[in-house]
Amino acid sequence: MTRNFGSVAEAVAADVKHVRLRVFVGGRALTTFEAHASHGVNQPIGTCTVVTEAPLPSFVTPNASVLVQAGYPGAVRTIFSGRLPNHEAAISEQGRWGRINAVGWASLLDYKDFADLRFAGPISLKRLFQALCKRRRVPSYRGEDVLTYDGASVQFGGITEIDEGDVVIDRTVSPLTWLTQKAELFGYRVYDTPIGRVMLSRVSGLPGTTAAATYAEGENAYRFSSRLDTRGMVTYWEVFGAKYTAAAGNVVAIRSIPAEVPYSAELDPPGYRMDAKRDEILTSTALADAVRNVLEINTSEPSELATWEVDGAPDRQPGDVVALDSDTCQVSGNRWLMSVRQSVTDRTGYYATMEGWAGAGEALPAGDDCESSSVSSSTYHVGDSTIAWFSDPSPDGTTVEIAFTVPEAYSSLTIYGEAHGANSYFASSDNDESTASRFEIWQVPDPTQAEDDTDNKLRKVGDGQLPIMEETAGVIAWQQIVIPITGSVKAGPAELHLVAGTDADTGAVDDFEVRGLTLVACGVGEPELPEEAY
């Protein structure tokens, strides 16, 4: 009997485990031999390569959505979500192979506009991130409050002598490049995550005290290495910002320098190293000071980067804090998880290579702002069969509709809860005619107005696919679910539809149960869409 695991941590800790891999393109299952996904805080766009048979099926088309789920029975998670800019097929002496090269959703931010984008200042970097993601229809994104070392929100613009107080994103720069550059000034990063959410989050200072996982020599790491490097050390930073003529006629040149440069034995002689950073977005000394302080914190000590390889961990996201322990490499304590590269192949198995950075200085304030609200505490049996051993033997239908309210403003929606039995047929079949069980969000275009049959008709505005949840008949194996909702959902009334998929091999409708559904909205705050300058 195949062992079902209650969590990813339990599966990773097991000495014997089955491996699962399933790829969906445009919502349809694709026969897959290999998948290689790569995400990192210094890699704004996540990538995934999938190897399949050639010729490619007709549903593999440019711009199709790509969803890769991997893991172990009972612990399957999304390790890539994105879209398909290109694919290739080849025949050679080695056979006929198709290769799909997918990119994460941050790629939607990675092309230039035909005109400059202009935002009324002062405006926070978080709002700019939200506005740019919304404008490019990034399906799921989440921005933390971008804070300075002393906890103040980072605001751009507002100086009337510079672009009339507006923040202008030049058309020669893509929004992703602009956001990445500005976020890094303050120790933040913009990057894709395996679950498909584009993040703006802090990766600076010392990592927090709560670790998402522990990786240790002699316990779960097949390979462990670390490198201590002084080449990136800088102890004397000068930061230069905007230079402009103030209303009074005086020239203002923003500049920040340290009062005193500390001695560093690692850099002796001369005992220090100097570098400079320049950015016109820094229109106040306070902003320039904040950038200098972040740079000083992050580069004042030798950089320690650890690399390790473990069994595939489908729930790890770059930006997590993880605990490391290696006597050989003299690495101990919490680290920022800088990158996760996951590889699943039909012959060599499922492994992940990760990188962790120790950070430096002190732990900086968090800028998270999530709101949680209950959608329903009931148990729902979605499907069409009466199953005696289910919690709720009688089916509630192949589609179950639950009314709820989307909070006032948000940048990402995630549904948490428990489920069992969903999409189990995908564990043994890759019939591309099968459809997956999923959550859908339905809403009218203007939620402030009543539904009608014409312009304000109820329609699907977002969705998220349930993972493959195998179980043994007669034994309920509740699993935690985390379903990021992609799409464009507005504040106001909405409906959550629990939709059963269909197994094309048997023609049977999927039967599964869900319970304790909770909605978590993050990045609260109405984004301001830009004005385009001509």
Binding site: A14, D15, V16, K17, H18, V19, E217, G218, E219, N220, A221, Y222, R223, D311, T328, D346, R347, T348, G349, Y350, S428
Partner: protein, 141 residues
């Protein structure tokens, strides 16, 4: 030459052949499959982790005896093709359709791939031909 199991209805598609007993063996080979796994050792510990990646296709290699070179050539043309393989029921564990052919029990195994056939067979003065053939079926469930 090995002893030929004289079974008139063993065939692949329409091509008839006999199956020879393996040398020095009192039993016939049966379908086998590869268990695809990978095991890695966690250095600094006694821990070994095995990932189970699934089952490979079922395969069997028989030494076939053809009544004539023409029969051999017919089967040679079927390499890399899929058809029904008919075997004497007593010499296979494959649980497929059982048929009684003139008082003898056979099984008809559908969707069998003729994976390989010796390209340099043994040809005997009496006109018979011997060659190894490998057949393949999907993985066991």
């Amino acid at each position: 030459m090995s002893d030929r199991l004289d079974l008139p209805y063993t065939r692949f598609g329409a091509v008839h052949f006999g199956i020879l007993w393996p040398d020095n063996s009192l039993s016939m080979p049966d379908w086998g499959f590869e268990s695809i796994t990978t095991t890695r050792h966690v250095p600094g510990s006694n821990r070994n982790v095995t990932q189970l990646l699934g089952k490979g296709p079922q395969r069997i290699t028989y030494r076939l005896s053809f009544d004539s070179a023409a029969d051999y050539r017919d089967l040679k043309e079927r390499v890399q093709e899929t058809d029904t393989l008919v075997l004497f029921a007593a010499m296979t564990s494959a649980p497929d359709d059982y048929v009684d052919l003139h008082g003898e029990g056979y099984v008809e195994i559908a969707d069998v791939l003729l994976l390989e056939l010796d390209q340099q067979p043994q040809i005997f003065p009496d006109g018979t031909v011997e060659a190894n053939a490998t057949f393949q079926r999907p993985s066991p469930s």
